[in-house]
Symmetry: C2
Subunit: 156 residues, 2 copies
């Protein structure tokens, strides 16, 4: 269980990095076929005539790749990463085949629950950046995080 | 091109339904393996000891299924469904294997762009409901929508 983070460990301003992920063209099109079958995500030629001028990843694919990087990052929350929603959610720059993504995660707020003192609400800003360090996506996420006194529900 | 919606067609209050999607357990676990490998999404037994008390779909899987239902719904925007982000994004109730999902999409606001008069910003509330008509997810999405004068960038 070592290395798992509890509410007690998360101070405002604490930052976490991630590994990187190279975005593969076949992954873009196979995700799109399954979940977001629109020409600019499916087919290089059709995409050249779209508003994007070329093939781009579905925003939902970008966010799914973000989640995978987050789960495997050092931001290892006891009981898992359990979100209730987002105060902010923006796609800023399209993600293209060959881009390399990485995350910067920063703790923005930490509040113990008054109703359920064994847990709290943590706000984190998860910025997904490309190889030019341009943000492609910014999420301000609300997460439910157990405190150390709540180990029985840690889910591992 | 018939049936495609332009900015000019979208009045506040206009509503769109969708088909339904039965959530399959193997789809939940295979999505999770790929993008959100946490015990409560991966494995029925591990999930019983988690805060959810049973296997639940990743929120990212729910939103991806939502996108697929939306793309195939009557909400067919010329040039595709292109989101810039969300004013609201909430997961309300977990999605379990066997649940049946459907969407209710409502136009909340329509504004022509002053900088780019050939397009506009449309806010839509996309509510994903389960078989008991409980909302499981609410998105208030900002979409870029071309006006009829902008057909060359329609992307089809």
């Amino acid at each position: 269980m070592s290395g798992l983070l509890y509410l007690d460990d998360l101070a405002i301003g604490r930052r976490f990095g991630s590994a990187t992920k190279v975005v593969d063209e076949s992954e873009i099109t196979s995700f799109a076929k399954r979940f977001d079958p629109q020409p600019f995500h499916l087919d290089r030629e059709a995409a050249t005539n779209s508003r994007f001028g070329g093939l781009v990843a579905s925003g939902w694919h970008t966010v799914a790749m973000t989640m995978r990087l987050l789960v495997h990052s050092e931001f290892r929350i006891a009981g898992g990463i359990v979100g209730t929603g987002f105060d902010e959610f923006r796609w800023i720059t399209p993600v293209h085949p060959g881009d390399t993504l990485r995350l910067e995660t920063e703790v923005i707020d930490v509040r113990r629950s008054t109703r359920k003192p064994a847990q709290g609400l943590v706000k984190v800003r998860i910025t997904t950046l490309n190889q030019n360090s341009e943000p492609v996506q910014i999420l301000l996420a609300n997460l439910v995080v157990p405190s150390r006194s709540a180990r029985p529900i840690s889910g591992k």
